[in-house]
Amino acid sequence: MTKQFRNKCNRQSKINLQDILSQWNCEVPEVVKQKNLKSRRLFLEQSIVAAGSVVISARAIAKTKTSSVDLKKLSQPWLTLSEVQEHLFPRSTDKDKQTARLSVSPGAKDIHAIEYLQTMLNTPDVDGDEKEFIIKGVEWLDGVANGIAGKPFIKLNKASREQVIKKISESSAGENWLSTLLRYIFEALLTDPVYGGNTNKSGWQWLEHQPGFPLPPENKKYWLLRNSKTAIQSRGKV
């Protein structure tokens, strides 16, 4: 029996949005705060609609060798989230310690981290507060970016982006936000490709990870299991 001890990194505790809002608000410029208050509800509704309308052609991804995501088709806040993901988890080059051979290792865009996040945030078992928190964070991020460099995050160069991310990581709310994004990036990197990430098993290949078997087919994604006909039916006669 594998002992299951408490692990703070395994499952995130429930986020108390109000606490975080008040914490983070201290660091967000006043004007952004005002704007947040006015547009919060509308903003959230729009972003949920946007999530549903993103369509990405699988064939298009297979063709392009550079960025696999058609960024033109992403609307906000996903465009910014995608850039934050790529900053947190960039495509990079690994050097083999023995052979000195170079190889490219996948970044967030290569593993479809933004589409994965969109999928997951639309499943019923992701906490509504978490979803709101992730989306809300984009405004806060841009608030900090504007404060530091006078431009929103996506208009910044790499060095300034690093400065902004570093800055927000210093507050517990910001650290929480980045940590949440990383959690979903790791899922996109290492969970089964049936969920939309781990493109062509590139995450597993990069980390020389041997998955188990059998792997879940399309019709056995985890959210389909609990309410299937066989799962709810009584069996046996008396």
């Binding site: 029996m1 990194c9 429930k14 947190l88 990581s169 020389e208 299937s228 009584s234 008396v238």
Partner: protein, 564 residues
């Protein structure tokens, strides 16, 4: 006339042996299971399903626990307790709410208790602050049922004599051991040079096909995962499926029992439950068997008040929920770097699939002058590979040694190193979690589940003695890793309860003043009520509980059969 002869609440390791035995004998049995009916066709090696979403367990927003954890001492030196719902903390106490219960997700490390475990109080004397008592039955009462489980549920292994080996009525296991990982060779060599006796851990895993169940296919993902072949001896694969074919057993999934009604004489008359659509139903039976997880069994009894049971069913001496135990101990790791090995050895260490199947019981009883208690009940050490779940492994790497978040290329290099440069070997220490007045179940006065019933509040205090024993064993466990030349050896022993290893709460005993059940696991004050999950255990032994729960449930099933 009642609807059924027997109504069983819970389809896991405690309920299924009763369903199987009584249905085989021709009695009519209904099993009420609160979770879905998932089968081999639903279990895949899907980390999201097994370990990162609530698929086999309820959503915490719908059903939660309240945990009262140790929070320092006040000015007078008394313990303080901080209470938090698991919805807020994310510290999930559910184990497996599906047909077959959490036995679907066990690793199936199967150990019997030993004769000494039935008599801790007389063998080692009292321990201040602990409610240790002898069991009302002896090892010899349970032995035939341990043997029964070996063949019916399917236990594979190889029995050898050792310092603390328990008596067996058969020479060896009915199934030979499963295939072993090459690391075991290095492990055995290290143990022999230290004078320890490495033991092959018996497993509730079939090495080859038997009946409708396929043999193990060694995918390398066993514990926490549902089995796709039926090789793992889950209550569902081994017992429920067979009980159904008798034509005398009906299993209703998504049947959440919220109350047991009792009549004016104190006998249980009906079970009330909600179905999949949250409609209410009532079932009557001659005999009721509760086996729905140690914490939830106590919760259901406490919620089931009646004329003769004003404080809850079987709770007239206020013992229900008391003396809950977990498994004490902890775990440790050592790392083997491929760069320090030959290519051949590195290839061996990288293998994923076969089992380690190794444990040590050299210190099941500690008798050591250098140990500050000298003579004490010790425990079991199990060795295994680190759990392969990649997302969990990766997620742990985002925090650096100063607990600061890491990202970018630094993070990617950490991942690459963790996954590709080494194999992590792990051990787990199992020792007794002494029953105390600070570990118990009650009903929370505020928090409710989605149906409006009070949730269980669990105080999870531990006894310092548990840590002393745990640390003693962990140090011994480390010596093997050292002998194997592992690097970065570390271990951690704490009083944090492992939520998947829980028992007690309705302990059995001869004296109704300090127990809930008699030696037959029948309630002292409700003669047609039996409890057959881990709740009955007054002390837990120093091994995982499942085999003992199975064996005892088969024993009680025979008692009920004689009565019917």
């Amino acid at each position: 006339m009642t609807d059924y002869d027997v109504c069983i609440i819970g389809s896991g390791a405690g309920g299924s042996p009763v369903a199987y035995t009584l249905a085989e004998a021709g009695y009519s049995v209904v099993v009420l299971e609160k979770g879905p009916w998932l089968t081999e066709k639903d279990y895949f090696k899907d980390e999201l399903a097994c370990c990162r979403r609530s698929v086999y367990t309820p959503q915490l927003k719908d059903e939660r626990h309240v945990i009262e954890d140790y929070d320092g001492k006040d000015a007078n030196g008394n313990y303080k307790w901080a209470s938090e719902s698991t919805y807020e903390s994310g510290w999930d106490f559910w184990n497996g709410n599906v047909v077959g219960g959490s036995s679907n997700f066990m690793s199936g490390y199967f150990y019997r208790l030993k004769p000494v475990d039935f008599n801790l109080r007389s063998e080692f004397g009292p321990i201040e602050g602990a409610n240790v008592v002898d069991w009302p039955i002896q090892y010899s009462d349970l032995e035939p049922y341990y043997t029964k489980v070996e063949s019916i549920v399917g236990v594979s292994g190889h029995a050898v004599k050792h310092k603390f080996s328990e008596p067996r009525s058969t020479r060896d296991f009915p199934y030979p051991p499963t295939v072993e990982h090459p690391i075991t060779g290095y492990f055995d060599k290290a143990c022999f040079s230290l004078g320890y006796q490495p033991l092959q851990t018996p497993r509730a895993v079939l090495p080859y096909a038997v009946g409708q169940r396929r043999g193990c296919e060694y995918s390398g993902y066993c514990g926490s995962y549902g089995c796709s072949t039926g090789a793992k001896g889950s209550a569902r694969a081994a017992l429920i499926d067979k009980a159904i074919t008798t034509g005398h057993c009906k299993v209703i999934p998504y049947a959440k029992v919220y109350k047991l009604q009792s009549d004016d004489r104190g006998k249980v008359s009906h079970a009330n439950y909600y179905d999949y659509n949250n409609n209410k139903h009532t079932i009557s039976a001659k005999i009721f068997v509760v086996a729905c997880h140690a914490i939830e069994t106590s919760r259901l009894l406490l919620a089931s008040t009646g004329t003769k049971h004003p404080n809850g069913l079987a709770n007239n001496t206020n013992q229900v929920g008391k003396n809950l135990v977990f498994s004490a101990g902890g775990s440790g790791t050592g790392e083997f770097f491929y760069k320090d090995m030959s290519k051949q050895q590195a290839d061996e260490f990288k293998i994923r699939g076969p089992f380690i199947n190794r444990g040590l019981q050299d210190w099941y009883v500690i008798d050591d002058k250098s140990f500050d208690i000298q003579k004490a009940k010790g425990g079991t050490i199990d060795y295994l590979l680190s759990h392969p779940n990649p997302t969990t492994r990766a997620d742990n790497l985002k925090w650096d040694n100063n607990d600061k978040l890491v990202w970018g290329n630094t993070l990617k290099q950490r991942l690459k190193a963790e996954f590709t440069e080494k194999q992590t070997f792990r051990f787990e220490v199992f020792n007794d979690w002494l029953p105390t007045d600070d570990c118990f179940v009650s009903l929370d006065p505020e928090e409710k589940d989605k149906w409006g019933s009070a949730v269980a509040k669990v105080r999870v205090g531990y006894h310092d003695h548990d840590l002393k024993v745990g640390n003693y064993l962990a140090k011994k466990a480390e010596t093997v890793l050292k002998q194997m030349n592992a690097k970065n050896i570390s271990s951690s022993v704490s009083g944090s309860p492992p939520a998947n290893l829980v028992a007690g709460g309705c302990r059995f005993g001869k004296d109704p003043a300090i127990s809930v059940l008699n030696a037959d696991c029948q309630a002292h004050d409700a003669e047609n009520l039996y409890v057959t999950d881990g709740s009955f255990m007054p002390t837990g032994g120093s091994v995982p509980y499942t085999w003992t729960i199975y064996a005892n449930a088969f024993r009680v099933a025979d008692i009920i059969k004689r009565r019917l």
